[in-house]
């Protein structure tokens, strides 16, 4: 089976916690068509082709400043390729 990078699912597993609830909500709001699944201790979010975490949307829900580096405290695992990680956003997508 051959799939394209545009639609092949990517995903991230996030530790379930108070702070991370805002991160999960932000990802849900930013990524149309994503699926959220609750597993023991974690939340798994998958999306076709591309998944984006933006600083702005997390800060909006958290009510405080949030550096994208802070995402390291939330992430447990992922699949896909981290294409971008800068001050404003994190992008997980396949290259090919």
């Amino acid at each position: 089976m051959s799939t394209t990078a545009a639609t092949r699912p990517v995903g991230v597993d996030i530790q379930e916690s108070e702070t991370n609830r805002s991160v999960v909500e932000a990802i849900e709001a930013t990524n149309e068509g994503c699926t959220v699944q609750h597993m023991p201790g974690l939340v798994r979010i998958t999306a076709p082709g591309r998944l984006v975490v933006t600083r702005e949307s997390v800060e909006e829900r958290l009510g405080r400043e949030w550096e994208t580096h802070e995402f390291q405290l939330a992430i447990v695992s992922y699949f896909g390729h981290i294409k971008e990680w800068d001050d404003d956003e994190i992008v997980i997508a396949w290259d090919h």
């Binding site: 089976m1 051959s2 799939t3 990078a5 092949r8 699912p9 990517v10 995903g11 597993d13 530790q15 597993m39 023991p40 201790g41 974690l42 994208t68 580096h69 802070e70 390291q72 405290l73 939330a74 992430i75 447990v76 695992s77 992922y78 699949f79 896909g80 390729h81 981290i82 294409k83 971008e84 990680w85 800068d86 001050d87 396949w94 290259d95 090919h96």
Partner: protein, 513 residues
Amino acid sequence: MTIAPKAPRKLTMKQRYEALTRDLDWEPSYVETSEVFPYTEFEGIKIHDWSKWEDPFRLTVDAYTKYQAEKDKRLYAVLDGFAQSQGHLSLTEASYLNAMKLFLQGVTPLEYQAHRNFAYLARHLNGPGPRFAALCQSIDEMRHTQTEIHTLSNYNKYYGGFHNYLEQHDRVWYLSVPKSFFDDALTAGPFEFLIAIGFSFEYLLTNLLFVPFMSGASFNGDLPTMTFGFSAQSDESRHMTLGLEAIKFLLEQDEANVPIVQAWIDKWFWRGYRVTALVAQMLDYMLPRKVMSWKEAFELYFEEQMLGGLFQDLAFYGITPPKHVEHAIAEKEVLSHQVYWTLYQFSHAAAFTTTFPDAEAQSWLSDNYPGTFDKLYKPLWDKEARNLEAGGRHFVRGLPQLCQVCQIPMLFTEPDDPTTICQRHSEYRGEKFQTCSDGCQWIFEREPEKYVQAWLPVHQIYQGNCGGPTVPDVLAWYGIQEGDGGEYKGSLDAAHWARWHDAADHSHIGSEA
């Protein structure tokens, strides 16, 4: 009054990362580059431009230390709370800890070995980007070693099997499986190590290895393990990235690297997959409260995400799914049953206990393995039930044949026949060598001069190198004490557990031993 606008950051993440890596690197002027970096050519890998390797995390020293310190603070807060509240009493059952004994004995020492080899990469890779990523990973691996030891030391106060894991890792038969796997990687060149551990282990198989342990901890009341697990896994996502960057970088640098990398993927997928056999039985048999079956975990984390996701991406470079992957897929129906049946009959020589799966456990196995459990394995357990009733307990009175490559007892069956043991024979310099599968045989025959050196525990016992000729001699040499291994029912752990839970007065807990 006006509120002053927030001062703009002096440098962006990108600029800071550039400053740390590129600007702190230099070209040697009075020695040859090959003298400074002597180990990056002999494997045949061609690199034309090291600056093309960039760490997407763009970590700098300040950001790294800040977040790692925060992770540690959170973990130690949980550990303190757990110890102060007698948290070990809220586990589902003391037998759950067998999974953790296996983890401490089998996995924690590997974290330390990973620390060592990533420190070596941090010195010996030519590019400043990968050097810094390897340095961070080296420190991470040391942190994992320490946090795992600290976490599980809480159980060592009350339960058997935790007290001599380091020496056991170097000596005990079933621990030679993870040890020899990692030794194989440590003795390879830097690029092969990156594909072996950074890519195959950390990216391809990490979810199969760690998520089952952590979810098992979560379901079975083991808060500290779950916390260290997630704390370690958050670093793991950085390690996965290093592994994926490594492979893409090698493939993009030169077309001649493609077949070399492919052969390493073929080898290291199978090596790593064989180690996960220990995880398979843990998930299906050792957890009192089940999370998911091995089959389900394999389908989700490997077939769906790796074969369906990653390898589609790597196809662009001409990389194909690993050799012998079809055998791993075929084995998902039988693997955990065969491995647990083996550990069950050899646990008198182990630092963990096993027990007969009760009716509820067997019905779960039957539901999750409708094609194989009732037909192939239930009859064995039925026979063992009769054996137990007659006062027996299936412990093998001798030593098994081991695979020359993975060092697991030769318990695996033919890919198309789950009732016939797979025996593969090779000869090298007039000596016979047996392997457990086409995968291990292919690995042996590719580099026989490496695997003839295998320290096979059974052969070493017969050569007289393991404390003496009798089972008690060998167990003493292993540092296995009364209460560490054997049958769980009636064991010291089981007796203590029952006493602690029945007693009205808990003041004596921990003072039994």
